[in-house]
């Protein structure tokens, strides 16, 4: 058991489907049945039109790097320097993540670079969605 671990998410009833998804290596988003809006973070209603009729679906896992910082100070579970990134999913929404299989440098982390999701298990309940540079 490592001494220092990442901050652990606590799922709620509204976000449980997302964490069930990542545990099964699926990145899940929601789409409004009424207006078609795709949104994140999870809610059981549409933030654009307030419809309660929304559908969970599996996203492609494709994204581009929208922005980031490279953090140089120590945080439990991380070894500096490491990037704290925001990616823009192909489906539209943005989410915070880390970029793996990539040097944590400004030269390697180019804005708009194509990425794909990888799943990193934290424990039996929680698996995180991280991203790596798209191969090829």
């Amino acid at each position: 058991m490592p001494d220092s671990v990442r901050a652990r998410p606590q799922p709620t009833p509204e976000t449980q489907h997302f964490w069930d998804g990542t545990r099964q290596h699926e990145l899940r988003l929601q789409r409004c049945d009424a207006c078609g809006r795709i949104y994140f973070p999870p809610r059981p209603f549409c933030p654009a039109c307030a419809s309660r009729s929304v559908t969970v679906f599996a996203a492609s896992g494709k994204a581009v790097l929208h922005s980031y910082v490279i953090h140089h100070r120590p945080v439990s579970g991380f070894t500096p320097p490491y990037a704290i990134a925001v990616v823009e999913l192909a489906e539209g929404p943005r989410m915070m993540t880390n970029i793996v299989d990539c040097a944590q440098t400004p030269e390697a982390l180019q804005l708009d670079m194509p990425l794909e999701v990888v799943f990193e298990k934290l424990d039996d309940e929680i698996t995180l969605a991280l991203f790596r540079p798209m191969k090829g």
Binding site: P9, Y68, V69, P81
Partner: protein, 358 residues
């Protein structure tokens, strides 16, 4: 002093400044500490309270709400207090992000630790969108240090260069230590009442001409546009419209500078410069001593002080400038715009002050 005593110390100074007693105050506004904590501690019986607590711009929003309350007769005399043991943490409540909150689930697991690791996340996108350079981002700090040199109370007053800024310790690329706000203790208080009563008070009156407020999101990753603050774009123009002023009317400007990119977003979102032009505007010394738009004349969060929530200190400098008593006084200043941010672009409040009776 403990955090609550920082609130009270400022409140006592403000009451003395206005020649008022606790019994004269019937409205209380404060952030983090609750109105009941502050009213009890100071011996005040309020008929109006406001505990809006949205981060550092809470105090701009308190001014807005207080002005509306006074105008509608809910109370007569409002005390707004701020106190923060930002550095010492003496008597300060614990800070934590609940793991079940959206930020706790969708941001905290990825390694942020407080504002320096979150607030700058939009900057690289802004720089790419508009071709803003690291040197231009460094000039923000250089210029504000020039103002701090004129402020006897500023923490850091020694001039710095772009090279020194860009060689200071890396905190969260692209921002270095000298592009991040200080961490200090502090407090401040304001007392507001109807303009008609101005002659009853000893100090030169400062009028609230217009205000604005808004919020966007508690998570920086969920900002609609990383090159602009939606909350700024609502709060700023609302205040300008309410005050009936144009940008040319503004003699003095405060833009809450938790980090070096904040003034750039503020200048653009408030409409002082076209989108993407703020870096060049500051680089050309327009906001420096002698420039046409004096900005952050106290040295700002970057060089003067910053306890975690800085908005009250920006308001204090605007009030001093309107009274004509600021250390770096802008000659003949009649209009001051005081603009604040809360959280990581989560909230915003703008106050337009004037010293001519409207």
């Amino acid at each position: 002093m403990s955090q609550i005593q920082l609130h009270a110390d400022a409140a006592l100074n403000a009451m003395a400044d206005a020649a008022l007693m606790p019994a004269d105050i019937d409205g209380v506004a404060t952030a983090v500490e609750t109105p009941q904590q502050i009213a009890h501690y100071l011996g005040i019986t309020p008929s109006w309270v406001d505990g809006t607590s949205v981060g550092g711009c809470s105090f701009m929003i308190h001014v807005r709400h207080a002005a509306a309350a006074i105008a509608s007769g809910l109370c007569r005399t409002v005390l707004i207090t701020h106190g923060e043991s930002g550095r010492s943490r003496v008597g300060a409540p614990p800070r934590s992000v609940p793991p079940s909150s959206l930020a706790g689930q969708f941001e905290q697991p990825f390694g942020p630790m407080g504002p320096p690791s979150l607030f700058p996340i939009p900057v690289l996108r802004y720089m790419k969108a508009y071709g803003v350079t690291h040197e231009q981002l460094a000039m923000v700090s250089v210029v504000q240090r020039e103002w701090a040199a004129k402020n006897p109370r500023a923490t850091f007053r020694t001039p710095i260069t772009v090279d020194e800024v860009l060689n200071s310790r890396m905190i969260a690329y692209p921002l270095r230590l000298l592009q991040c706000c200080l961490v200090t203790d502090g407090g401040g208080a304001l007392i507001l009442t109807a303009g008609e009563r101005a002659a009853d008070f000893p100090q030169k009156p400062v009028y609230v001409l217009g205000t604005g407020e808004s919020v966007e999101t508690p998570m920086v990753s969920q900002m609609e546009d990383f090159t602009s603050s939606r909350a700024f774009r609502v709060a700023g123009p609302t205040a300008f419209r309410a005050a009936g002023i144009t940008h040319a009317d503004v003699d003095h400007l405060m833009i809450y500078d938790a980090f070096a990119h904040l003034p750039l977003y503020g200048l653009e979102d408030l409409g002082f410069v076209p989108r993407g032009e703020a870096g060049r505007f500051i680089e050309a010394r327009n906001t420096a001593p002698g420039g046409k738009l004096p900005l952050n004349t106290n040295g700002g969060g970057l060089s003067y002080m910053h306890s975690g929530m800085y908005g009250m200190y920006a308001l204090q400098e605007s009030v001093r400038q309107m009274r004509g008593i600021a250390p770096a006084q802008i000659e003949g200043a009649k209009i001051s715009v005081c603009h604040g941010v809360g959280g990581m672009f989560a909230a915003s409040g703008t106050v337009v002050f004037g010293n001519q009776r409207p």
